[in-house]
Every structure is written in C-alpha cells, then in structure tokens.
Amino acid sequence: MAACSQFEPRDKRFYYRAFWNFALREDLAELDSEFNGVDFGHSNLYENLLLTGGTDVPAIEDRAREETLAFIASKPRLNPNEEAIAPTYMKLAWRAQNTFDEAHALHRATYDIVVSDEPDKDRAIRNVLAYYQESSYAITAKKLDHHRLDAFLYSRSFRNRFPLFNATIWAYHYLQVAVYDPLQAARDLETKKQAVRPILLTYRHYLDQPQTQWTFMPLTAELSPIFAARYPEIANIFDNLHMLHDNISDILASELVPTWEDKREEIYRILNTYYLATADATNPMIVTHAEHRH
C-alpha cells in the first residue's frame, strides 16, 4: 500500500526555448556561476537534514554549510546535477522538487531576458510567465500570507536550530531577487556587469558573515521594487517559492514531523493546499485585503 501511495509521475518539462536562453551564462558568467552554487546549496541542505534527522548541528552548520560554500567558491560554470546531490530527498518529495525546478527555470529565464539584447523584454517576460503558468507544477502568482505560512507548529525549527545555514539560504534569496532592478536599469552589458558587482560583493559578505539577525526572508518588492511593481505575479511566485523552501527546511528539521513518511505527507499537503496555482480557488493563505504585513 505504501508503494502504491508513492506512485507518482516524473513530469519533467523542458525550459521555454528562445534566442535569449543563453544570455546570462554567455554574457554575465560571474553572476551565473553564483546561481549554480545556489542550486547546490538547497539540495545539499535537504539531503543532509533528511539523513541526519535534523538534529545534528555540526553536520548542518559546519559540514554541509562548508561543502556548500566550497562549491560556491569553485564558481561552477554549469548548474549541478541535483539528483546526485540529494538522491534521498528526491525520492522522498519529487513533486516538490519538480515544483522548485520549474520555478527556478522561471528565475533563470527572467535573468536571461533582462541580460539579453532582446528588443521586447516585456513581451518576452510575459511569454515565459504564461509558459510557466501552463504547468500543473506552477506556484501560485497570488500574494500569500507568509507570516501565517511561517506559523505552523513546526515553523522556525530550522532557523532556530541552524541559524548560520538559514542565513546562508536567505543570502541566496537576497541575490536571486536583488539583481533584477539593477540589471533592468543598466543600458548595456558593461553597465550590467558593473551594476551587479556591488550586489555580488554584498552577497559574498553575507556568505562570509551570515546575517543571523534577520528575522524574515528577503522579499522581491523590498530589493527590486521596480521589477516587483511591473511584474507582481512573478514577484509573488518568487517570494512564494522562497517561503516554500523555508517551510520544507522546517519540516525536515522538526521532530514534530517525525518519520520520513510524515515529512513527505506534510510537504505534499502544504504544496497542494497553499502553494500550487491549482489550489487558488480554495487556498486560505491568499491575501485578499490591502494590508499585508512584512
């Protein structure tokens, strides 16, 4: 019966094919390699949380975090094979991973467009958003109440026990959303390179000295307000994606969700109920009023 309940499709989908696909890696390799490092960090964290039961502080704060920092420092030219990094986690919660993969592809597509010499960037961004939203794995583009999503019984387990790695994760999220406005404002490639340099310096500072005093994850509207105002749906998707990352870290770290089967069930419950766009009609976490706290 357990085996039958775990029968699930793989459903990998190719990225949106366009001429600008290569712009970030071709033209702004310094930033691209940082994102490749970020891909390693999430998967490495989940695998180590799962295998250590979420209680071994040195295994996460020292060993896994150091592995991640070492990989980031290697400036990888290609994104890593995440199934080789986290083989156990992928088997536990593939549906959640595929959700991440598609949202990360949206992230990458928007960077490529912004960096490229595509003449109609606005149309291109709206096209990739439409392609993303065709997927049954698309995260909702509605604004979610992140504070309520951070108030489950197990919430904050991860950040309370592993503040250094949590601050490292939030540093990734800072980098992922902070680059949009400077990249969009810069007129040519050389200016774009100059524009992201201070952000990269800040990001590396955050990796060296994790900002454990932060109380909430970085949000797109705070770090790239122009991008968020122009593309509120995409900003919501990215913020929701990053909140989902935090929820899953908490589930994997918490003793309140004790077994692997329990963790899988809870990950899929929040994914299906609160995060996927397919739940929009019934999602109680969608913010319907003007006041949204952050």
Partner: protein, 261 residues
C-alpha cells in the same frame, strides 16, 4: 536589432555544430540512453518538449571476421509527458553480411514511456516499444522489440535492469524468429561534491544469438558520459564478450555525442 540578428545567426550556427554553450536544465549526462555509450538505458525519458540529436561510432572487433563499424545517428523528441519518441537509422560497414534484426539503413522508430519517478518505495519503471522498418540493405519484414526498464538508486549509485524481446518479421535461413536480451547495469556520478560533469556506467549483458544453435552473446561494457556544456554531452565506452558464437566481439568500442535543444 543587429545584435538580435547576430545572436539568431549564432544560435543556429552553433546549434548545428552542437557547440551552443549552455542554457540551464538542458541535456542531462545522467539521463542514460541506449548506446550512449553502452547498450543500456535508465527508466527516464527526456523532458517534454526537448529535442535531442545523438550520434556515435561503434566498432566491433570480432574474434572471427573483419572489424565492423556502425554509425548511429538518432533524433529524440520529448513529445508527451514522460514519453520520448526516437528515429534512428544505423549504418554498418559490410552491410551484406549482417544477420538478425539490425540491418544497415533500417528505419528504426521507438517510443519510451516512463510510468513513474523513483520514490523511497518504488523503482522508476519504463516500457520501450521499437520497430525496424525494412528500408535497409537485405532487410525484409518489420521487426519489433519490447523492453521493460527498471531504475533503482542506492545513495548515489543507480542500478538499472533492461529486459527485452525482439520478434523478427521475416527471419531468413537459420535466423531466430525471436530473441531475448537482458542487461544489468550501474551508474555513478563522479566528482561529488566538487564536480557534476561525469557519470560512470558499467553493465553485464546476455542476449540470444542471431542464428539458431549458437550460444548467447554474453559480455561486459563500461562507459563514461561527460557534460561538456549544458547542452552537449560526449561519451565513450569499451566492452568485450566473454561467451558467445565464434564471431563474438573481442573488443567493443564507442564514441559519441548528444546535443539537446
């Protein structure tokens, strides 16, 4: 505008050469396809919407008879969810001496369907259905093949089982009307946690001989797939058959590449 035109031109030029440098999530060296570089595959199809062009050169230095060389061009398309369709047309040296299902120039059509992703309780499972149309040299009848595929991982080591049966449409002379084939293989990503560009693959296989009254071809192969860019994978493999007919392979070798876009 000129930059867009130049980028467009460069896109097509590099795509044709297989040298396009790397969008994300493109061709995956860890997604194993048959003959790239050895005769096994995993249970996963390429992503929906992806197009792959694969090609290789395989030599078979036989214990009796001349060395046979095969050119293996192939197009793969992720046509549906969890399914890929394939078009292939192998070209052999000495095409008039071939026996069995594979003839030089046959049009080979295939469909691989993956039923599920691997979970903690279940291996990944897939079914492959193929047909060879008699478009090649000395080819008669439509040959069909069905293969079941399982993939199960143990940590980073992945184990694969392939079991298939081929039915010849119009066997000639001593040719078997049908033949089974079984492969057990493992694959392992090299370089973790510093590098994710190489996958090592090893297999042991047995298959019924093409002619009646002969022993099974039984051998081992080992290969490596290297991710050169996100969309370009190169591969190389070596093998030998330690049991089988007198003309079985002394050394098998393959080099190839795959481009995804």
């Amino acid at each position: 505008m000129r930059n867009v035109t130049l980028r467009t031109f460069r896109f097509f030029a590099l795509m044709l050469l297989g040298l396009l440098p790397a969008p994300l999530l493109a061709l995956d060296h860890d997604n194993l396809d048959p003959n790239r570089p050895i005769g096994m595959e995993d249970a996963y199809a390429i992503p929906k919407g992806e197009i792959g062009m694969e090609g290789g050169v395989r030599f078979n230095d036989r214990r009796e008879g001349r060395t046979r060389v095969t050119f293996q061009p192939q197009i793969i398309y992720g046509a549906f969810d969890n399914a890929q369709i394939e078009i292939q047309g192998d070209l052999f040296t000495e095409p008039n001496s071939l026996v069995g299902a594979s003839k030089s120039g046959d049009l080979h059509l295939g469909l691989l369907y993956n039923f599920n992703t691997e979970t903690l309780a279940l291996p990944a499972m897939a079914l492959r259905v193929e047909t060879d149309l008699p478009t090649g040299v000395n080819s008669r009848g439509v040959d069909t093949q069905v293969t079941g595929i399982l993939t199960r991982s143990f940590g980073r080591l992945r184990a694969h089982l392939n079991a298939g049966y081929t039915v010849l449409g119009l066997p000639k002379g001593q040719e078997r009307p049908g033949a089974y084939r079984a492969v057990a293989a493992v694959s392992y990503p090299l370089g973790y946690p510093d590098s994710f560009r190489d996958t090592l693959i090893a297999s042991v296989y047995t298959r019924e001989s093409d002619l009646r009254g002969q022993r099974n071809h039984t051998g081992v192969e080992v290969g490596i797939r290297h991710q050169l860019t996100s969309r370009l994978v190169v591969d190389a493999g070596l093998g030998t058959e330690f049991a089988g007919p007198a003309d079985r392979a002394a050394v098998l070798g393959t080099v190839g590449l795959s481009v995804g876009f």
